[in-house]
Amino acid sequence: MILSSTNTLENKKILRYHGLVTGESLIGSNVYKDLFSGVRDVVGGRTSKYEEEIQKAREIALSSMKEKAAEKGANAIIGLKISYNNLGGTMGNTILVTAYGTAISYK
C-alpha cells in the first residue's frame, strides 16, 4: 500500500475516495525508567531504547491505519499526517502517536 503525505499521486488516476482512516498507539510511562540508560546510549553513538520505542509505536499506528484502509478496499493513503502528543502534562510521560490520512483507490 502506498503511503504519501502529498495531496495526490503523480501519474496515477484516483478512482475513489474511501474516507478518513486513523491509527493510534501509546508509548507508556514505564519506558522512562530506562531513559537514563538511554542517555548513555546516545552518548555512545548507539540508538537509544527510547528511539526504538517511538519507532515501534509509529509502526503500530501506521499498520493499524493501513489495516483499516485495506478493509475498505483502498490501495493507497494520501494526505498522511503523523503527530506525537505528550499526554502527561508536567508530570509523567505518555506519548500518543496518531497517524491519519485519506484512503483512496487508484489505478
Binding site: G19, T22, L96, Y100
Partner: protein
C-alpha cells in the same frame, strides 16, 4: 591583567595563610582536648563543641590580621566544627545511634556552620515540595478568597459570583459508536480534491471535545483502556465537526487536522480538536 595580579597575590600569601589556619586548628584542637579532659559538660553536652571553633577562629584571625593584614575566613573554625561533631557524635558515642535527637542536633550544628545553605534547603526545597504536593497553600488562599468575596458582596450588595468547580466536564458519551466515514460528509486530510469540483468554500469548522481521564495520563499503566477512550473521543470530535459543517450545508471537509492538547499540569484533562475547511462539492460517481 587584574585577575593575574590578584591570583598572584593569593599564591604569594598561600604559605602564610596555611600557617595561620594551622595555628588556629591546633589552638582549637588543644581547647577541645582540654574541655574533654576537665569534662566541661552541661546537660550531657561538652562545651568544647562551642568553645573550640570559637578559639580556633579567633586565633587564626588574630595571626592572619597580624601577618597578612587580611582575614582567611576562619577556615579552622569549620575544621573544628567537623572534628567536634564527628568525634562527639560518632567516635565517642558509638551507641548513640540515629534518632530524632542526634539527627536534629547535627542539623542544628550544620545550620550554625553554614546557615545560608541549610536555610535554603529547608525553606526553598523541603517546604516548597511539601506545599506543592499537598496543595496546602492553594487551599488556604482559596479559602481566604472565598471569605473576601462574601464580605465584599455583603458590603457592596452585589450578587455572589458563582464559583463552582466543574465536577463533570466529560461531554462524551462512552456508549456511542460512531463511524466517521458514515456521517454523510466526505472527510479528507488532503487540501485538494481530484475528479470533482469544489463549488463553494464555506470556511473553517472546528469540532471540540474535552475529556477528563480517571487517572493522570502520564502514569496510566492501563494503556489499552486509555487508547480505547482516546479513539472514542477522537471520533466524537470529528462527529462534532461534521455536525457544524452540515448545518451550513457542507458535504465535504478538506485538510482535516487533529490536535490533542493537555489542559492541566497533571495530564488529566485532554482537549481534542478536529478542524478543517468545509466545502460544497458536486457529487459524482467516484464519491463513496
Amino acid at each position: 591583567m587584574k585577575l593575574n595580579t590578584d591570583l598572584q597575590k593569593r599564591l604569594d600569601n598561600f604559605g602564610e595563610a596555611t600557617f595561620c589556619i594551622t595555628l588556629g586548628t591546633i589552638a582549637g584542637l588543644l581547647t577541645y582536648e582540654f574541655c574533654l579532659m576537665i569534662h566541661l559538660d552541661i546537660f550531657g553536652w561538652n562545651l568544647g563543641l562551642v568553645f573550640s571553633p570559637l578559639v580556633a577562629g579567633y586565633v587564626e584571625t588574630y595571626f592572619a590580621q597580624k601577618y597578612m593584614k587580611e582575614t582567611t575566613g576562619a577556615v579552622s573554625a569549620f575544621i573544628l566544627f567537623a572534628v567536634t561533631v564527628v568525634y562527639g557524635f560518632i567516635i565517642a558515642n558509638p551507641t548513640l545511634g540515629f534518632n530524632f535527637i542526634t539527627i536534629g542536633s547535627v542539623i542544628v550544628i550544620l545550620q550554625a556552620a553554614i546557615p545560608t545553605l541549610i536555610n535554603y534547603f529547608i525553606i526553598i526545597i523541603i517546604l516548597a515540595m511539601i506545599s506543592y504536593i499537598s496543595g496546602i497553600f492553594k487551599k488556604i488562599t482559596g479559602f481566604l478568597y472565598k471569605i473576601y468575596i462574601k464580605i465584599k458582596s455583603k458590603i457592596t450588595g452585589e450578587e455572589l459570583p458563582i464559583i463552582k468547580p466543574d465536577k463533570n466536564i466529560n461531554n462524551f458519551d462512552e456508549n456511542l459508536q460512531i463511524d466517521i466515514n458514515d456521517l454523510g460528509i466526505l472527510l479528507l486530510s488532503t487540501t485538494h480534491l481530484w475528479n470533482q469540483e469544489v463549488i463553494k468554500y464555506n470556511g473553517i469548522y472546528e469540532g471540540k471535545i474535552i475529556y477528563k481521564a480517571k487517572r493522570p495520563m502520564g502514569f496510566d499503566k492501563e494503556e489499552e483502556l486509555l487508547l480505547k477512550d482516546l479513539r472514542k473521543i477522537k471520533d466524537q470530535a470529528i462527529a462534532n465537526l461534521c455536525k457544524e459543517a452540515k448545518n451550513d450545508g457542507c458535504n465535504g471537509i478538506l485538510d482535516l487536522t487533529l490536535e490533542y492538547d493537555i489542559l492541566d499540569g497533571n495530564g488529566t484533562i485532554c482537549n481534542v480538536t478536529a478542524h478543517g475547511t468545509g466545502v460544497v462539492i458536486e457529487k459524482s460517481i467516484t464519491w463513496s
